[in-house]
C-alpha cells in the first residue's frame, strides 16, 4: 500500500469552502428527496368517490323473511389510471315481512374483516376477532371486540322493483360511524 504522509488539518481553514460545501451538498441532495416525497404524498390529495347510489339487485331476489342475504356492489370504480365496472364491496340486504328493506355493509367495524352470516345462530360472526352481531346489525354480545354495530347503509326501492344502495365504507375501530373519504 502506498503510504501518504499523514495529512494534517489544513493550517489555514477555509470557512467559505466549508460552509458552501455543506450548503450546496444539502440543497442538491434535497432536490430528489423533495421531488419523490411530493409523489409519495399524492394519495393524500385523492378523495373517495364512493357514496353514490348503486343498483344492487331486484326486489324479487330478496324474499320477505327477514333473513340477511349477501349481494356484491358493482359500480364504476376508479383505480388510479383504470376506470372500470367492478365490485367495490358487498352488502347484506334484509327484507322484513312488512316489506322494509335494510342494508348493512359486510365489513366488520372493528378491524375491517368480512363478516359471515351464520343462519343456524341467526347472527353475524366476524371470522377475525369473533365479534358477533344480531340480524339487524346491533352488537349482540357486550364482550364483542367491535365498538359499534354493523354499518347500516341508505336503501331506496326504486319503482317498487329495484334495490339501490348508497354504498359507503366507514372507518374501522371507532365507536362512531365516520365515513371514509
Amino acid at each position: 500500500m502506498q503510504q501518504h504522509p499523514d495529512p494534517k488539518d489544513p493550517a489555514r481553514r477555509n470557512f467559505f469552502a466549508e460552509g458552501a460545501s455543506v450548503v450546496i451538498g444539502g440543497v442538491i441532495s434535497l432536490v430528489p428527496v423533495v421531488a419523490g416525497a411530493r409523489v409519495l404524498l399524492d394519495p393524500l390529495r385523492r378523495k373517495s368517490k364512493a357514496g353514490a347510489a348503486t343498483r344492487v339487485t331486484s326486489l324479487d331476489a330478496l324474499p320477505p323473511d327477514g333473513v340477511p342475504r349477501k349481494f356484491p356492489v358493482i359500480a364504476t370504480r376508479i383505480d388510479a389510471w383504470n376506470k372500470s365496472t367492478a365490485p367495490i364491496g358487498a352488502v347484506y340486504l334484509r327484507r322484513s315481512p312488512e316489506g322494509v328493506v335494510t342494508a348493512l355493509n359486510v365489513v366488520c367495524p372493528h378491524a375491517g374483516c368480512f363478516v359471515d352470516y351464520v343462519a343456524e345462530k341467526s347472527s353475524y360472526l366476524c371470522p377475525c376477532h369473533n365479534s358477533t352481531f344480531k340480524p339487524d346489525g346491533a352488537v349482540s354480545d357486550a364482550k364483542s371486540p367491535s365498538a359499534r354495530a354493523l354499518d347500516s347503509l341508505e336503501v331506496e326501492v326504486r319503482g317498487g322493483k329495484e334495490i339501490w344502495v348508497k354504498f359507503q365504507n366507514f372507518r374501522a375501530g371507532h365507536a362512531e360511524k365516520i365515513p371514509c373519504t
Partner: protein, 592 residues
C-alpha cells in the same frame, strides 16, 4: 453524547479518514468526475425508489402507471424527469470520468483492478439505461429493446435460449417487464453498489493519481476538493433540471402495440453508434458488428493497464480511447444524418408524436383507461385509425382533401370522389354545382360522370332561376341534415325551419330528387342511392359494407368493393372509417 457514540462506533476516525484523504498537489477540478457520478447514482436511487412506489410492471399497466405518474400525480413529471435526465447526463459523465482516468494514467499499475472495476461499472450503468428504456412500455422502448434482445439471439449456440431467458418467454409480455424491472431495480443496482464500494475502497487504497507535474502543495480532501465536487454536482443537477423543465419531465410515446409497427424505433442516443455500426454488416455477418468487434474493442480496453507498461503504451492507449470516442461520435452523427434525410423515419416520428399526444387526450377522457390497457384507446380511436384504414383501403380510388388520408400524395390516378367533408352542406353543394359535378372531386373519375345525376345538375340545375337556387340551398340543408354531423349540429338546430321546407321541396316537381332517390320513406322504384339518413353513421357503414345493395347503387355500382360483404374489413374497421369521415371522435372540448 457524541463521545458516547464515538466510543461505540469510532465514527470520528472514520469521518476523519473520509474527509482528510491526502490529495497530492491539492484540489483540482479534474478530479470531480467520480464524485459527480456517485451523486448521479444517489439521485437515481432516491428517485428510482419513489418511482417504484407508483410503477406497475405488466403489459397492461406499465405504460398506464407511467402515464399516471407523468400526467396525474402531483410532481410526478418532475420525479420521472429527474430519473430520466440524470441517466442521460450520467452517460456523459462516464465518458468524462474514463477520459480523465486514461489521460492522467490512473489506470496503470497498481490500479489495474480498480480500472477493471470502473469498466464493469460503466457497463452496469449502460445496462441500467438499457433495461430502464423498456420499462415505460411505450412504442419507443418496446421496439428499440426488441432490436436489442433480437441481437442476443445471434449469440452462437445459446443465443435463442439466452433471449428467451432475458425476455421471459418466446415473446414479449408480462414476464419481459417483471424480469427487466427486477434487473433494473434489483440485480443491477445491487451489483453497482457492491462494485462502487470496491471502486472507492481501491481508489482510497492507492490514492489519487495526480496530474504531473505537481505544482502546488498537498492538501486534504476537505474542504477544498469537497467544495469543487459540490459545485460540480450542483452543475450536474442544474443541467438535469434544465432538461427536465424544458421537456416537462420525460418523453412518453404511445403505449406499446405489437400490431403497430414503429419505424421511429431507435435506441437512446448513447447506443446509436452501435445501432449504426450494425448497418455495415450484411446478411449473416451481423454477429461481427453486434458482438465480436465490440467485444474485441472492450477486451483491448480492459487490457489497457498492461499495454500501458510499454514505452509507447500510454500513447497507444490514449490513441485508442480517442479513436473509440471519435468513431462512436462519427457513427452517431451518421445515424442522425441518415435519419434526418429519411422521409419514412421522419413521418414515423411525426406519427409517433401524434399518437403519444392523442392517447394522453383519450386517457384523460371521462371514459378513462380500460382494464385491457391504453393501447386499446388508440386501436378504437377513429382519429387514429381512420386515416390509416382509408389510406390502405379507400385511397387507391378516393381521396381525402387531395391526399390519402394520412397526408401522403397518391400515385394512382383518382377515380372516385374526394371524401373530405362528406355529408356536409359544402360537400353536397359542390356535388350539385354544375361546374363541379363532373370534376374529379365528385363524379369525374366514375361512370356516373355521364350519368343521370350529372346530366340533371349540368342541364337542369344550371338553368335554375334565383328562386329555385334558393330552394336548392334548402334541399341541401335538408339532405345534409340527414348526416347528423357533429360539426353541423348547431347549424342543423338553427336552420330547423329551412330543413323542414327543404324536405318538402326535395320531393317536389322542381327539385325532383325523389324521381330517382328514396327520401324519408320507402320507395321500391328508386334507382339511385337512398337519401334517407344519407351520410349518417348507419348509412355510411351500410354503404361500405355493400354498395351493391339495392338501397345504394345496386347493379349500377361502379367498381367499389363490398368491403363488409366480402370480409375485407370487419364491422369495427368500417365503423372507424365512417366515424373518421364524419368527424366523429372524442375531443376534450366536446365533453362536458
Amino acid at each position: 453524547m457524541f463521545g458516547w457514540l464515538d466510543h461505540r462506533t469510532g465514527y470520528k476516525k472514520l469521518l476523519h479518514e473520509v474527509l482528510f484523504e491526502n490529495i497530492p498537489g491539492g484540489s483540482r477540478w479534474r478530479y470531480v468526475w467520480g464524485s459527480t457520478l456517485t451523486f448521479g447514482l444517489v439521485i437515481q436511487f432516491i428517485t428510482g425508489i419513489f418511482l417504484w412506489m407508483a410503477y406497475s410492471p405488466s403489459s397492461q399497466t406499465a405504460w398506464e402507471s407511467v402515464y399516471y405518474i407523468q400526467e396525474e400525480m402531483a410532481g410526478g413529471w418532475l420525479l420521472r424527469g429527474l430519473h430520466h435526465w440524470t441517466a442521460q447526463v450520467m452517460t456523459v459523465l462516464l465518458i468524462l470520468h474514463l477520459m480523465q482516468v486514461v489521460i492522467d494514467g490512473a489506470y496503470k499499475a497498481p490500479r489495474e483492478v480498480n480500472f477493471w472495476f470502473g469498466m464493469i461499472l460503466l457497463q452496469l450503468i449502460l445496462a441500467l439505461s438499457l433495461t430502464g428504456y423498456l420499462l415505460p412500455w411505450d412504442q419507443k422502448g418496446y421496439w428499440a429493446t426488441k432490436v436489442a434482445t433480437s441481437i442476443l439471439a445471434i449469440v452462437p449456440f445459446v443465443g435463442e435460449d439466452l433471449q428467451k431467458l432475458v425476455i421471459g418467454g418466446p415473446d414479449y409480455g408480462h414476464h419481459t417487464l417483471t424480469r427487466f424491472f427486477a434487473l433494473h431495480a434489483g440485480v443491477l443496482p445491487g451489483l453497482t453498489v457492491a462494485l462502487i464500494v470496491g471502486h472507492i475502497y481501491l481508489f482510497r487504497r492507492h490514492g489519487i493519481t495526480p496530474k504531473e507535474p505537481v505544482k502546488k502543495p498537498d492538501a486534504a480532501f476537505w474542504p477544498d476538493q469537497v467544495f469543487k465536487d459540490a459545485v460540480a454536482c450542483m452543475a450536474v443537477l442544474a443541467t438535469v433540471l434544465f432538461f427536465v423543465i424544458r421537456h416537462h419531465g420525460a418523453e412518453l410515446a404511445g403505449p406499446a402495440d405489437p400490431s403497430e409497427p414503429f419505424s421511429a424505433a431507435r435506441p437512446d442516443w448513447y447506443f446509436l453508434s452501435l445501432f449504426q455500426f450494425l448497418k455495415y454488416f450484411p446478411g449473416t455477418t451481423e454477429i461481427w458488428g453486434a458482438i465480436i468487434i465490440p467485444g474485441l474493442v472492450m477486451t483491448v480496453v480492459m487490457l489497457m493497464p498492461f499495454l500501458g507498461k510499454w514505452q509507447l503504451g500510454h500513447r497507444f492507449n490514449l490513441g485508442l480511447l480517442y479513436s473509440i470516442l471519435a468513431g462512436s461520435g462519427l457513427l452517431t452523427y451518421l445515424a442522425l444524418k441518415e435519419d434526418n434525410k429519411n422521409p419514412m423515419y421522419l413521418a414515423a416520428v411525426k406519427e409517433a408524436e401524434q399518437n403519444a399526444a392523442r392517447v394522453k387526450v383519450l386517457a384523460k377522457a371521462p371514459a378513462g383507461i380500460p382494464l385491457t390497457g391504453a393501447a386499446a384507446l388508440l386501436r378504437d380511436d377513429p382519429l387514429t385509425q381512420g386515416p390509416k384504414l382509408f389510406s390502405k383501403n379507400c385511397a387507391s380510388c378516393h381521396r381525402f382533401g387531395g391526399h390519402d388520408g394520412t397526408g401522403v400524395e397518391v400515385k394512382d390516378a383518382q377515380t372516385a370522389a374526394d371524401l373530405q367533408g362528406f355529408g356536409s352542406r359544402a360537400w353536397l353543394a359542390g356535388l350539385l354545382n354544375p361546374d363541379k359535378v363532373d370534376s374529379i372531386h365528385y363524379f369525374g373519375g366514375t361512370k356516373f360522370k355521364a350519368g343521370k345525376m350529372a346530366k340533371f345538375v349540368k342541364n337542369t340545375v344550371r338553368e335554375f332561376t334565383p328562386e329555385q337556387k334558393g330552394q336548392l340551398v334548402k334541399v341541401i340543408k335538408a339532405v345534409s341534415a340527414e348526416a347528423q354531423l357533429l360539426s353541423q349540429k348547431e347549424l342543423d338546430t338553427n336552420d330547423a325551419a329551412d330543413i323542414d321546407e327543404g324536405r318538402k321541396l326535395a320531393t317536389g316537381e322542381t327539385m325532383r330528387c325523389t324521381e330517382c332517390h328514396a327520401f324519408r320513406k320507402a320507395d321500391d322504384t328508386a334507382i339511385a342511392p337512398d337519401l334517407t339518413g344519407w351520410a349518417s353513421r348507419a348509412w355510411l357503414t351500410d354503404l361500405i359494407h355493400n354498395p351493391k345493395h339495392e338501397r345504394f347503387y345496386g347493379k349500377r355500382n361502379d367498381r367499389m368493393p363490398a368491403f363488409g360483404e366480402d370480409q375485407v374489413l370487419d364491422a369495427k374497421q368500417i365503423g372507424l372509417i365512417a366515424d373518421w369521415l364524419r368527424g366523429d371522435w372524442y375531443e376534450p372540448t366536446k365533453a362536458k
